[in-house]
């Protein structure tokens, strides 16, 4: 399998074609995925648990063989040239992979040696990275004695240390306190702006994706559901959400052409997703009966995410659907409390 597109992928840092990973013939974690990520982009990969984000990243990092299809990373084919791919990339794993029995500094030093950094570079960069993740004073303690968040920070320091061209960040800020998270965000921004590092970032924090990513792709069950800038995605779903309580006829609202979606939740509140509330709100209100409460807010990335991955899409047909597991937990705890 030769990488035929080495020449014409000049603008793409990553390009997958029909990339598929099947585990034991029943689970298709990544399903014929076609995705192009441009050089210098910070690409957000969103999707519910088990969507296939980590599996996709593992394949791109040459840690898992694809079942079929292939991809190029920095113009190099992951199947035929895995060792060249490894020279171009860095990764912050979802599950911490630092060595417990080494100190923080030793972990970083080992990393530097494996990436062929010169001793003086190594020393300098280690000090820099330790300062970034605020572990300087714990650097010479065994990682075994670190807290969960400290391990996470060391993991991040290690992934960033050798300044790869393409960086994979699999839920990098999971479990970090707000201050550390701000630090990491600022650094990611700087890497992108100063060094033009291409980044693929998965996260469950919508705020993180909104703030950092130039483009976002949502995947569900191994397939790309939608892709675009945060603004574009929000626009696709509708610009504003109006929350109503009172006498509302859903059927009537849905006939209005600026209404994209209208549904009633368990407490009897109606959520109307619509375009341009500033202009159309009056028309909407006129279509309702007596109302006791009206709230207007802009669509967030959270709404986009739920729209494309939640059960929400189906709920219009099956009004009394099961809801997501999170809904059920909430309901259940509501009944108890």
């Amino acid at each position: 399998m030769k990488s035929a597109n080495q020449a014409d992928s000049g603008e793409d840092a990553i390009k997958t074609s029909g990339l598929t990973k099947r585990f034991n013939s029943t689970v298709t974690a990544v399903d014929s995925l076609n995705l192009e990520i441009k050089k210098g982009e910070v690409f957000g990969l969103l999707g519910p648990n088990g969507a296939g984000k980590t599996t996709l990243i593992s394949m791109l990092c040459t840690l898992l063989h694809p079942t079929s299809g292939t991809a190029t990373v920095a113009g190099l084919d992951i199947r035929s040239e895995p060792s060249k791919v490894r020279k171009e990339i860095g990764i912050v794993f979802q599950e911490p992979s630092v060595d417990d029995l080494l100190t923080g500094r030793e972990n970083l030093d080992l990393h530097g040696m494996l990436y062929k950094m010169k001793p003086e570079d190594r020393k300098k960069r280690i000090a820099e990275m330790l300062a970034l993740v605020e572990l300087t004073d714990r650097a010479d303690d065994l990682v075994r004695t670190y807290s969960g968040g400290m391990r996470r920070r060391l993991e991040i320091a290690r992934g960033l240390m050798h300044r790869p061209k393409i960086l994979f960040l699999d839920e990098p800020t999971l479990g970090l306190d707000p201050a550390s998270r701000e630090h990491i965000w600022a650094h990611i921004k700087r890497l992108s702006e100063e060094y033009g590092t291409t980044m693929v970032l998965t996260t469950h924090y919508m705020e993180e994706a909104d703030r950092l990513c130039s483009r976002i792709g949502i995947i569900d069950k191994g397939k790309l559901v939608v892709i675009g800038t945060a603004g574009e995605l929000k626009e696709k779903v509708g610009q504003d959400i109006v929350r109503l309580r009172g006498e509302v006829d859903l059927g009537k609202l849905r006939k209005l052409k600026f209404v994209k979606k209208a549904k009633m939740d368990k407490e009897g509140m109606v959520d109307v997703t619509m375009t341009n509330a500033a202009k159309n709100l009056q028309t909407l209100l006129d279509a309702c009966g007596k109302l006791t409460s009206v709230q207007v807010r802009e669509v967030t990335l959270n709404d986009v995410f739920l729209h494309y991955t939640g059960r929400d899409i189906h709920r219009e047909e099956e009004e009394e659907g099961e809801g997501s597991w999170a809904d059920r937990v909430m309901q259940w705890s509501g009944q108890r409390g």
Binding site: C61, R86, F93, S97, M113, L114, Y115, K116
Partner: protein, 251 residues
């Protein structure tokens, strides 16, 4: 494709981890001493072998055994690394897989050699005199043996997912290799078919080589033993390299 920095980096990590896990160091030294003083002294009281006495006869066997067990079991740490997720950090690095394999193998050899040197020192004091020339001959033989068996262990560790499975299979492999090697009794006393099995057991040649160096006589000439060990090392090393080339992250 062999990179010395990467080999050194991996080896250094293994050595540090080894020193920090005190239980590992203690266990690996205590068990051969038990064999040496309890088993060989006990059996030696009832059996006589050749003119050297049983304790001197069995000393090379116990040396080979401890190398075999320590190096082979070292493969278990691959499974451990995988569990801890540390393995993928190494696998995703640009260092070639052969360098990673060699670094690991050298790590296993280091553990085995520490133990072997302790045994040799104890043996020199209590069991038989040991000249510097003998030590110089012995070290390459011991290194060759531990490289081969560490490669076997690493091969298995790379192929297997569970520690229990590894322990089970390695017991199935190691004990026969040990028993048929003539470590505990001279090969001449064995009935024909058992002797045939001994002849295809590579550890036989490790034990014999050590015996030639330490006791001055063995079943085969030294060059023959070393030749067989080299072939054994080449085969197991090749298997280990292939298994590492194909290593994936999946737990």
């Amino acid at each position: 494709m062999v990179e010395f920095d990467a080999i050194y980096a991996i080896w250094l990590r293994e050595a540090k981890v080894y020193i920090r896990e005190k239980e590992r160091v203690i266990a690996s030294i205590v068990s051969p001493l038990l064999w040496l003083f309890v088993f060989s002294a006990g059996v030696g009281g009832t059996v006589t072998v050749g003119e050297t006495g049983y304790q001197a006869f069995v000393f090379p066997g116990i040396l080979a055994m401890s190398i075999l067990f320590v190096s082979f079991f070292y493969g278990l740490y691959i499974i451990w690394d995988r569990k801890l997720d540390f393995l993928k950090e190494v696998l995703v690095a640009p260092a070639s897989r052969s360098s990673i394999f060699l670094g690991k193998a050298f790590g296993g050899m280091t553990d085995a050699m520490v133990q072997a040197l302790v045994l040799l020192a104890v043996g020199a004091v209590f069991i038989m005199p040991l000249g510097p020339l003998q030590v110089i001959y012995l070290i390459p033989v011991l290194l060759l043996t531990s490289f081969s068996t560490a490669s076997m262990g690493l091969f298995m560790g790379a192929k297997m997912r569970s520690q229990e499975g590894f322990a089970l299979v390695s017991n199935l492999v190691m004990w026969p290799m040990f028993f048929f090697s003539g470590a505990l009794f001279p090969l001449e006393n064995l009935p024909g078919y058992l002797k045939d099995i001994s002849l295809i057991d590579p550890i036989t040649y490790a034990v014999d080589a050590i015996r030639v160096v330490l006791l001055g006589s063995g079943a085969f000439p030294l060059y023959y033993d070393v030749g067989v060990l080299c072939v054994f090392a080449a085969i197991t090393g090749g298997m280990g390299l292939l298994a590492f080339g194909d290593l994936q992250q999946a737990k």
